[in-house]
């Protein structure tokens, strides 16, 4: 277990820096987590983050990579609707790194 401090508030994370409590997340926290990951957030990053959070709220799980790429393709243009583009945005992998910045738990299993 670890903690991060954003704006004077102490938030709990797991060993790998994923937020433990979904509701602790704010855009500021997202910015903070992105900085820790050396990811500079652009509007396109935010499209991904917002979609992840919306999907999670509905389904209690992050979307499959394919669902994510399809949605991003619709929003940002077909040339960006592929996992290669998502890896450009989140070099450590869209599933894990983007989830971390979006304040979602880490996807587990053979992924």
């Amino acid at each position: 277990m670890g903690t991060i401090e954003v704006n004077g508030k102490t938030l709990e994370t797991d060993e790998e820096g994923y937020l433990t409590t979904l509701d602790d997340w704010t855009e500021e926290v997202g910015n903070f987590l992105a900085k820790q990951e050396n990811v500079e957030l652009t509007p396109n990053h935010w499209e991904v983050i917002n979609f992840l959070r919306e999907y999670y709220t509905e389904f209690q799980i992050a979307p499959a990579v394919r669902v994510l790429t399809k949605s991003i393709g619709k929003k940002l243009g077909a040339d960006k609707g592929n996992s290669q583009y998502l890896y450009e945005l989140f070099p450590y992998g869209p599933a894990k790194q983007a989830c971390k910045i979006a304040g979602l738990p880490k996807p587990t299993g053979c992924v």
């Binding site: 060993e15 053979c110 992924v111």
Partner: protein, 509 residues
Amino acid sequence: MAGPEFTAPVLREYPVIPILQRGAMAAATPYLANEKIQEALGFPGKLVDDWHDKAIAKMGDLLGKYRSLKVFLDTCVHCGACSDKCHYFLGSGDPKNMPVARQDLLRSVYRRHFTLAGKMFPQLVGARELTREVLDEWYTYYNQCSECRRCSVFCPYGIDTAEVTMAAREILDSVGLGQKYSNEIIGKVHKIGNNLGLPGPALENTLEGLEEDIKEDTGIDVRYPLDVHGAEVLLVTPSADFFAEPHIESLIGYGKVFHAAGISWTLSSKASEAGNFGMFIGNYEQLRKVALRVREAAQELGVKRIVVGECGHAWRIAYSFWNTLTGIGAGANDPFAIQLQSQLDHRHKQPMHICELTWDLIQRGALSFDKEANDHRIITFHDSCNVARATRMGNTPGGQFEIPRHIIKAVANHYVEMAPGTTHEQTFCCGGGGGILTDEMLDLRIKGTLPRMEALKQVVDSDGVNFMVTICAICKAQFTKVVPYYGFKMSMIGGVHQLVSTAIKLGDK
């Protein structure tokens, strides 16, 4: 805090035994499972006060239950045949990753407490007391074994290192030292039904999306049915097939095969996981509890047969253990098994691998392919350890090697074999099996994949191979993560049914 940067070992032209580097991997330790994760599985939440006595008692318990374990701990003569066969040793040079040395971490304590010589003259026979340091060493190095059993192929006594590793992990769990990655996942299976924690509605949403995509691509209504009562086939597949790339491409392939052959099939939201990490932690109760979900789902849905998707250790469990574990197959005689047995269709193998199903259909001429659709790929096949060394497919010895290759050659024109000694029963682990596929073990995973990368590099250079397929979700996830460290593209990893999916003809458009 993007994590430490790791670099891969250099690929060499001729693999040689590495120079020993003592303690090179001593820091590669997976996260401990917290109290919540541990207690959900009935394990102590943290290291118990009387861990020494509990651990020795547990060892005694396992020795009484598993004759094999006692034989394996007794018979090793330290001949060294296994010492250079482990991918983690070859990649890291850490002598404790030699299988014999790994086993000796446990064997030395076994000698001290369970053999006469070790009780009386411990120093003379390499017996040692279980100290806290030894316990921690167990935790480190038994979590650096992927239970791939390559070393066992070369052992003149047939000692199964994986079983020693499983016993050690079982002892560690029983005193409160569980591994987070595996144990959290097992908890999710009990609670939600799969390793990912993918709830039913999300699964349904994902499958609907797939149907739309395929309709768009091919103009054909290929279905991915969920929880359909009375379907002929229940397909159980790793939940990664619903989530990750390239895994999902093989799922698409399974659906196309069922569609083209006109077989009614279903997935189950209850048994939405073929994987069973109960085996990785060596715990029979967890293994059984996870496996029972498949039996219950099969009974509830009233299916006639169960087919297992592309998952290495799932096929080992289905092929080798379901019979006694959950009564699927012949033999078990509890009321549940009898009921399930009576509903299963005896004209088919029970259980059946998706590759057996597809190959059978190909041989009968039930599927047709446009092989040229795969012409952009020069393909090689990575044998997954659990399939290769713990199972069979078809009716002839070696079927587990030949059937996937037959399928590839039936759907694609360019196939290249990697060097002998790195495939078939001597295949190298991908480096991520057995509960190691977690981010904090990335350094070990990169090093452990070295032997496979060297074999791959050879065929990339000699034949222009640009696609390596496997039939295991762990292999797929591990390779896509680690091959970039060796200069390969992650898009060169795929599944056998991904190739099938590319080439299969789905009727008149």
